[in-house]
Symmetry: C2
DNA sequence: AATCAAGTGGACATTGTGTCCGTTTCTGAC
DNA sequence: GTCAGAAACGGACACAATGTCCACTTGATT
């Protein structure tokens, strides 16, 4: 039997009890480390030590620190994704695209404020685009552009997502900007691209 | 005498002949390496080997590969900076701010197309903001926003520069977008924020 | 309670970093 | 020209982190 799989349903076997326990330990320890020091300096070894598991155990599941950060992020981001799809306007469906984009921006600012350091820990660069979450944001923004009848939405989507890069956001915060001002600036951007009516 | 300096003018002593020779060798070798493989994989050791200099020599001038990439970039960027300050409109002074911003975007797309891989080699993340060049772009965009009487220009500046991150640009290129389409999208962004008159 | 795949953990080889310091090469003075 | 001191050089070294490997343990299944 290859990889203990239910051959009928095709579902993977459930996670073993000790594995689940360790997964939790790892994530908890990693969250602590990422929050404490500069996330980019966190090492696989440290996480293993902090979680009280062996090196090999850690590598079994996560190839590098970035994917651990990503795993943590996914948890946080899922909630926002839900609200985008089925929440109240203007975040959810119902409001005009420009408004929705601005609301999305505001929500993302909230996320970045809380978890920006984590995104940074995900060795942002290329990694970010690999994340499932990025694909989701991309699809969302693109849909809004299409709804707003903007020309060549494909070319604008990544452009409009760029200011949400953690480096950019944290940079702005360091410059002394408040989340509110940043969100306001993004709202103006949204209205500039997707004018009302 | 501390660091062989002209005490009257305060100018640093001229570079020694062997030093200059090695500097050139290093930059040439590094440019080759960065262009060939993934710039993020290039190592200090490799550069030293390729340049035919010792490890210590390399470290004397550059603390890491990122600053070597930055040194190469600075050279390329200086030309554009010149044209922004004193060139013909719409890039240089004279055109309305929206136009100038769009022209700036177009020029940057050109730069990214040629040297995007290098920017990537500069370990983009935080490093980028440390570069003198970034400060320059920032000042330029900010001035345009002020000229256009946009509210809270400080909050918008980094936001508008974000789409010019090398990761974003290269990502778009990988998606199949042409430089032209990307520049056009950026132009629309510029006009959205700085509408004509 | 027996079986065995899945999971564990730490030792190991490897690779890159950054520093240190004895040696070589320049430059300006005489 | 040659001499002296400063600056630059380069490779050896100590260290840190990576990722792999495999003998051992644990948990689910019968």
């Amino acid at each position: 039997m290859r990889r203990r799989t239910d051959l009928l349903s095709g579902k993977p076997a459930p996670e073993r009890a000790d594995a689940a326990r360790n997964r939790a330990k790892v994530l908890r320890a990693a969250a602590g480390l990422f929050a404490t020091r500069d996330p980019r300096g966190v090492t696989m070894d440290e996480i293993a030590k902090a979680a009280g598991v062996g090196r090999g155990t850690l590598y079994r599941r996560y190839p590098d620190t970035g994917s651990i950060a990503l795993a943590l992020l996914d948890e946080y981001e899922r909630d926002l994704q839900e609200r985008l799809l089925r929440g109240e306007p203007p975040l959810g469906p119902g409001a005009p695209p420009g408004r929705r984009l601005a609301a999305f921006y505001a929500a993302m600012v909230g996320l970045l404020e809380k978890h920006g350091h984590l995104v940074l820990g995900a060795e942002a660069g290329r990694m970010r685009y690999a994340s499932g979450a990025y694909g989701f944001w991309h699809a969302h923004v693109r849909a809004l552009l299409v709804a707003g009848a903007v020309p060549d939405p494909d070319a604008l989507t990544d452009t409009l997502l760029a200011p949400l890069a953690a480096e950019v956001y944290l940079r702005q915060r360091e410059r002394g900007l408040t989340p509110g001002r940043i969100a306001a600036a993004l709202a103006r951007l949204a209205e500039g691209v997707l004018p009302p009516e």
